[in-house]
């Protein structure tokens, strides 16, 4: 491989000319004063040789701009170091594809909000067809079968369902963290799973606004997902972790 460049700048029409396009709206009527305001703003972004390609009134109080300018400060590409993610985020179609290729069967995922916690909003955002913020939930994946037990599920019921459905993974949601109740619930669940020798056979995932990856791992779970997690993140981890565990077990 050829040596990586030290200085990287955008390529518009010539090497390292640094040209970028920007577009935005200002909440003021269009006019020469507004054009000047736009120019100053673009300079504030650090761009030089600014040319405004378009100034157009959206209505009497908003103005739309398309402009070009030159970035002058390059980045040193060769010295950039990026931490590799432990797992790759995949798109839903690729996840289905991955399951077909790696497992050759549908996966079964059981989800529940355990303990007295009555909030299904988290588990539903990840599992329900509808999903969250236009990211479809796991139900929409052809190769994943979902059993969503809803809220206020006891650890014992979750265990029974896990056995009954021969689950590949458990998704446990904990929204309420008052007085550390989520830690009590999650600890109880992991104890039961250990006692039943199921812990190693399942991918165990926890989610909730107060959950961090670290906390989840400390409690014995494979992963924890916090606020703003999209279903495909969870699914990506789930399938890759299951494949890894299968590999470690010599597959079945």
């Amino acid at each position: 491989m050829s040596r990586e460049p030290n200085n990287v700048l955008p390529y518009g029409d010539a090497p390292a000319d640094g040209i970028v396009q920007v577009s935005f709206t200002l909440p003021v009527p269009s006019g020469e004063k507004t054009r000047h305001a736009a120019l100053l703003l673009i300079r504030n972004m650090g761009l030089e040789d600014v040319s405004i390609a378009l100034m157009e009134p959206i209505d009497s109080s908003f103005t739309y701009f398309i402009a070009y300018g030159r970035v002058c400060t390059a980045v040193n590409y060769a010295t950039i170091e990026v931490e590799e993610q432990p797992y790759k985020i995949m798109k839903p179609d690729s996840i289905d594809e991955f399951i077909r290729r790696e497992f050759g069967r549908k996966l079964t995922v059981v989800g529940a909000c355990i303990g007295s916690d009555a909030h299904t909003v988290g588990i539903d955002a990840i599992l329900n067809m509808k999903g969250y913020n236009r990211h479809k939930g796991l139900e929409s994946y052809r190769e994943i079968r979902i059993i969503n037990m809803g809220a206020q599920v006891s650890c014992e019921d979750l265990l029974a369902k896990t056995r009954e459905e021969n689950a590949d993974a458990l998704l446990i949601s904990q929204i309420v963290t008052h007085k550390g109740i989520h830690i009590k619930n999650l600890t109880k669940m992991i104890k039961i799973l250990k006692a039943e020798r199921l812990k190693e056979k399942l991918v165990l995932i926890v989610g909730g606004p107060g959950i961090t990856a670290e906390l989840a791992r400390d409690l014995g779970y494979d992963a924890g997902f916090g606020r703003g997690t999209y279903p495909e993140q969870v699914a990506s981890f789930l399938v890759q972790e299951l494949a890894r565990q299968n590999g470690a077990r010599g597959n079945d």
Binding site: T25, D59, D124, N128, M129, N133, R142
Partner: protein, 519 residues
């Protein structure tokens, strides 16, 4: 207009099968009411406000009647009885009951005939309030007029009603005809309507009476300024569907998203609950002159738009029959579909044209709502603008009625002000440039487009016949829609389904479906 040659006999078979599917459901649900329906009835009788803890009074009353095992008679009778005994308005009866100043069940029952008459009078009073908003809409529409179809439909989703107003106003000035206010995330799963007063939401704005009113007032002002009527849209779905229908009717919403199966499939709401709530909601919407939009476009966000096109059509036939049974007129039944075939498919434009034309022809009076590409949007906003242009072309060529504007930033973020602007100029250009193209072309008889349309129709007919045989509940359990299975005894909201007692009375359903005569 270019037309496809379709087999009329096949259309008759489809409607007959859909009619049977719906009859079976209506017969089944007639034995039940729901907590949400009873709350809606109380709202329409004038019970408003919240208790000391901020819980809506209608919830407090209905939950109490449920707990005491008397909800099977319907909530209305208990309040009407107290109202007769005390001589104060029903809203005041509700307030006193919630404050435990009175016990509704302890008041001696009035004479049956007298109670029934008073219930019908009260209900007629409730409907009179809806009459007023309906008349106001007609007055504004006839005075100001509206844009020619396809109407341009845009979404605002700031999460704050005041900011929604700013963006709606800007959109209307740019040419938008319909403003849809996106709801607070997962409001559909709340079993109560959040009290007035809250203006902020997450991912959208809380839908309640106050926020409906704020946006309506703003749009009325902008309608006058622009000299054309601007339509207001919100969701009539989820666990509070009947109550939202009532609030929408009272606050002059013009279009409400209301699908017969969406909540079941996408939100895992119990199907019995959904069908009951939907029937009442649609009865109210029918009376209020509101247009419904069904949600078939949603199937295609998960299932493949090419392979599963017939499920959209089958669902439209079912939605149509449900709607007609609830009293909606064909001009109120805005069936939904979408431009979602993968851009990688050769001739995808032809297939989109076939589907849009097919739906236009089969439902000629429906204010069909056409949804833009969303599934195959990648974040390349420039390519997205081209996809949207093709979508716009199909819409104007086939005469769709309500056109939801595609956003170049689909899959990136909720629309920015400029995204809406760019979409509107794209749409204006295509609508203007291709205005009469549909009148100047013909489909080649037996050509690719016609063959595709016929295939979709015949597959839909087969599917409907299969469902008619199975029953809708079993069909949904068998994942025949959107590849998702839901059981009749599963999903949210089932505890709110109540078997009707022999003395059950819902005076609104009585008036809307049977008139004042005794059943």
């Amino acid at each position: 207009m270019a037309t496809l040659f379709l087999d009329d006999g096949l259309l008759a078979v489809a409607r007959q099968a859909a009619g049977k599917i719906v009859s079976d459901v209506i017969e089944e649900i007639d034995n039940y009411t729901t907590t949400a329906v009873e709350r809606a009835v109380l709202r329409l009788l004038g019970v408003e406000g919240v208790d000391a803890e901020g819980i809506p009074r209608v919830n407090v009353i209905v939950d109490d009647l449920l707990k005491r095992g008397v909800l099977g008679g319907g909530a209305a009778r208990w309040l009407a009885n107290a109202h007769l005994a005390m001589g104060v308005p029903v809203g005041e009866v509700g307030r006193r009951a919630v404050n435990i100043e009175i016990d509704l069940l302890a008041i001696p029952p009035a004479n049956g005939e007298k109670l029934r008459d008073r219930l019908l009078d009260l209900a007629a009073g409730g409907l009179a309030a809806i009459d007023k908003t309906r008349e106001k809409r007609w007055e504004l529409l006839s005075r100001l007029g509206k844009s020619s179809e396809p109407l341009r439909y845009v979404i605002v989703a700031t999460g704050n009603i005041r900011e929604d107003v700013v963006q709606a106003r800007a959109a209307a000035r740019q040419g938008a005809d319909v403003i849809a206010v996106i709801r607070h995330t997962a409001q559909s799963l709340l079993d109560f309507v959040p009290a007035d007063g809250s203006i902020d939401g997450v991912g959208g704005t809380i839908a309640n009476r106050q926020n409906f009113r704020i946006m309506r007032r703003a749009l009325d002002e902008i309608s006058e300024e622009q000299g054309r009527y601007i339509f207001l849209t919100n969701y009539c779905s989820g666990l509070c569907m009947p109550e939202i229908a009532v609030l929408g009717a009272l606050e002059r919403l013009d279009i409400m998203l209301n699908d017969s199966m969406y909540g079941i499939i996408f939100r895992d709401i119990n199907m019995v609950r959904t069908f009951i709530d939907q029937h009442f909601s649609r009865s109210i919407l029918a009376y209020s002159g509101i247009i419904i939009n069904t949600g078939e476009d949603n199937y295609l966000t998960t299932a493949d738009a090419f392979e599963e096109a017939h499920t959209v059509l089958a669902s439209q036939f079912i939605n149509e029959q449900f709607a007609l049974r609830s009293g909606l007129k064909p001009w109120q039944i805005g069936l939904g579909h979408a431009f979602e075939i993968s851009p990688q498919v050769e001739d995808s434009f032809l297939y989109e044209l076939a589907q849009a034309q097919l739906i236009r022809q089969i439902f000629p009076e429906s204010p069909v709502k056409y949804m833009p590409p969303t599934k195959h949007m990648s974040g390349n906003i420039f390519q997205a603008n081209v996809q949207d242009a093709l979508f716009n072309a199909v819409s104007v060529m086939t005469g769709q009625s309500v056109h939801l504007l595609g956003m170049t930033t689909e899959a990136v973020h909720t629309p920015h002000l400029q995204d809406r602007y760019l979409s509107l100029i794209n749409t204006d250009y295509v609508f203007r440039a291709l205005k009469h193209l549909g009148e100047e072309i013909e489909f080649v008889p037996g050509g690719r487009i016609e063959q595709r349309a016929r295939k979709v129709l015949s597959d839909a007919v087969n599917m409907l016949e299969e469902i008619a045989e199975l029953g809708l509940a079993k069909a949904i359990s068998a994942a025949m829609f959107a590849d998702i299975s839901r059981a009749p005894d599963g999903g949210k909201g089932l505890p709110g389904v109540i078997r009707k007692g022999e003395d059950y009375c819902n005076p609104f359903m009585q008036l809307l479906h049977n008139g004042r005569e005794r059943l």
